[in-house]
Amino acid sequence: MRWGMVIDLQRCIGCYACAMACKAENATPPAIYFRRVLTREEGSYPTVRRIPVPVGCNHCEKPPCVEVCPSGASYQAIENGTVQIDESVCIGCQYCIMACPYKARSALKQLDAYLPEDVGFTTPQEMGGEARTDWNAKLNTPVKCTFCNHRLEKAKTTGKTPGIDREATPACVVTCPAKAMFFGDLDDPNSEIRRLIATRNGFTLLPGEGTNPSLYYLPARF
């Protein structure tokens, strides 16, 4: 089994809902975005166009971050191929950040809150989001998209199917209003994402790096 994601660039409208859903799900601190939306402007007035592209960790099949990690904190889950970080082991050398060609990782060097302390709200970091992330434990370590691993883990006990059942699917995929994101098993030839990749000529970023990402993009139809 190898979990993968497909993003349809033809459908993406650049609403940033995926980025915000991820932020809410994981309660990421300020300036930390697991999913970002890059935008490119083309043309000149009056025919300017903006093209959005959601990016994040590609959960590569051959992850350079795992290869360089000296402590084993960055590892590839054997059962599903996702790349995760064990912050309890990490020494914070940031070698993985240098190794990632996609700039998917961020160094968590300080924990800020979105609201002042005296306002009276519980900070997202204290809540941990749906992911129940312990951000204090992650301080001075790299952080990145986990493919909502907490949902994938929970699916093992609840019997839900990631990519099909909403509670077992990454928050960004579930939230996308344009239905531009899909999630499924890349090793299953009958999965929806395999079909999409084959029929729509799905491509990955920086294929020359040899990382074999699990995140595919679908180009324009016309």
């Binding site: 660039l9 033809q10 993406c12 890059l38 935008t39 490119r40 402007e41 083309e42 043309g43 000149s44 007035y45 009056p46 025919t47 300017v48 166009r49 093209i51 592209v53 990016v55 350079p64 795992v66 290869e67 360089v68 990690c69 000296p70 402590s71 084993g72 904190a73 082991v89 990490c90 020494i91 914070g92 050398c93 940031q94 070698y95 950040i97 240098m98 190794a99 990632c100 060609p101 996609y102 700039k103 160094a107 060097k109 301080l139 001075n140 370590t141 000529n201 491509f203 970023l205 920086l206 020359g208 790096e209 990382t211 993009y217 180009p219 324009a220 016309f222």
Partner: protein
């Protein structure tokens, strides 16, 4: 957000590859896919550069000490080499986020060059300490071998960083190896001269040879980097360094060594200046490579959607 009123204006804004410095003419390739200038990495700062500087110089000195240093200055050379390598490791401890977990660095010897460097370090320090104490050839040779392995690990460590085009180019490996040897032979020369010990011919020729190798490695590195589309920002920084580095760090010591060998017999000033130039140029080059020229690459996005006007 880029300025959409003019494509040229948007790229001009992002044209400066040096924060706060002069405007440098760089092309579209230095911008990432979204039209913004590529970012310089900030995770590895002067402390990380200190690891490569201290480690490179220290191991180079250990190697050169075993090859060409007279017995009278061997002790000082080895001790200085170990101190420099140790300072480099202290820089690493100062840089990592969880220094108390430093022993975890030893867990991934099968894939990580950082782990391999850490695994070799105790053997290098041990053999070097015994060699300094006994002065025996077996331990000095062992120290040199471990030092060479340590230096190689450092070079491979930098090259394995796929996110930084200036580092991941394979030509960075011979560059780091050769500059380590230049720094080592330069320091060995200074140790001899500082101790009032007669400079052996082997050491002078070793310094000259390593300078020439470093010159070739540097030219090869720049040539290979020029062939990479994603390295233009790094090249613009390195090209600003190039003039002073090649003139004062390469040509000057090479000429001074030749002057010292053939024209000023018995005088040490050419060798002193040449050695100082050799070692400082190496340090400056490595600092620039690790901190100033370390830009990330943009994303290569193909098959973009074709949106209609106004959509």
């Amino acid at each position: 957000m880029t300025n959409a009123s003019s494509n040229k204006a948007s790229y001009d804004w992002a044209a400066s590859a040096d924060e706060g410095g002069e405007e440098i003419e760089i092309g579209r390739e230095e911008l990432d896919w979204s039209g913004k200038k590529v970012n310089r990495q900030t995770g590895w700062d002067a402390r990380a550069a200190g690891n490569f500087i201290g480690g490179g110089s220290g191991t180079g000195l250990l190697i050169c000490a075993a090859l060409a240093v007279p017995a009278a200055s061997y002790l000082y050379s080895v001790v200085l080499g170990l101190v420099l390598a140790g300072l480099g490791l202290i820089c690493v401890l100062a840089e990592i986020g969880h220094p108390l977990r430093f022993l975890n660095v030893l867990r991934r010897g099968n894939t990580s060059w950082m782990t391999r460097e850490a695994l070799i370090a105790p053997f290098m320090f041990g053999a070097g300490a015994v060699a300094a104490y006994t002065g025996g050839v077996p331990f000095s040779t062992a120290a040199a071998v471990f030092a060479a392995a340590y230096l190689y690990c450092q070079a491979r460590m930098l090259q394995a960083s796929k996110g930084i085009p200036a580092w991941r180019n394979k030509a960075s490996i011979p560059l780091l190896l050769s500059t380590g040897l230049v720094e080592g032979s330069s320091l060995a020369t200074l140790v001899c001269l500082g101790g009032g010990i007669s400079l052996p011919q082997e050491l002078i020729w070793l310094l000259l040879a390593t300078l020439l190798v470093r010159r070739i490695s540097w030219m090869y590195y720049l040539k290979m980097l020029a062939g990479e589309n994603s390295a233009k920002a790094a090249l613009s920084v390195l090209h600003r360094l190039r003039g002073p580095y090649e003139n004062f760090g390469q040509t000057l010591p090479e000429l001074l060594l030749l002057i010292g060998i053939f024209f000023t017999s018995g005088q040490s000033w050419p060798f002193v200046i040449a050695s100082l130039a050799g070692v400082t140029s190496g340090w400056i080059m490595k600092y620039t490579l690790v901190t100033r020229a370390a830009f990330s690459q943009g994303l290569d996005m193909t098959a973009l959607p074709k949106r209609r006007q106004g959509s």
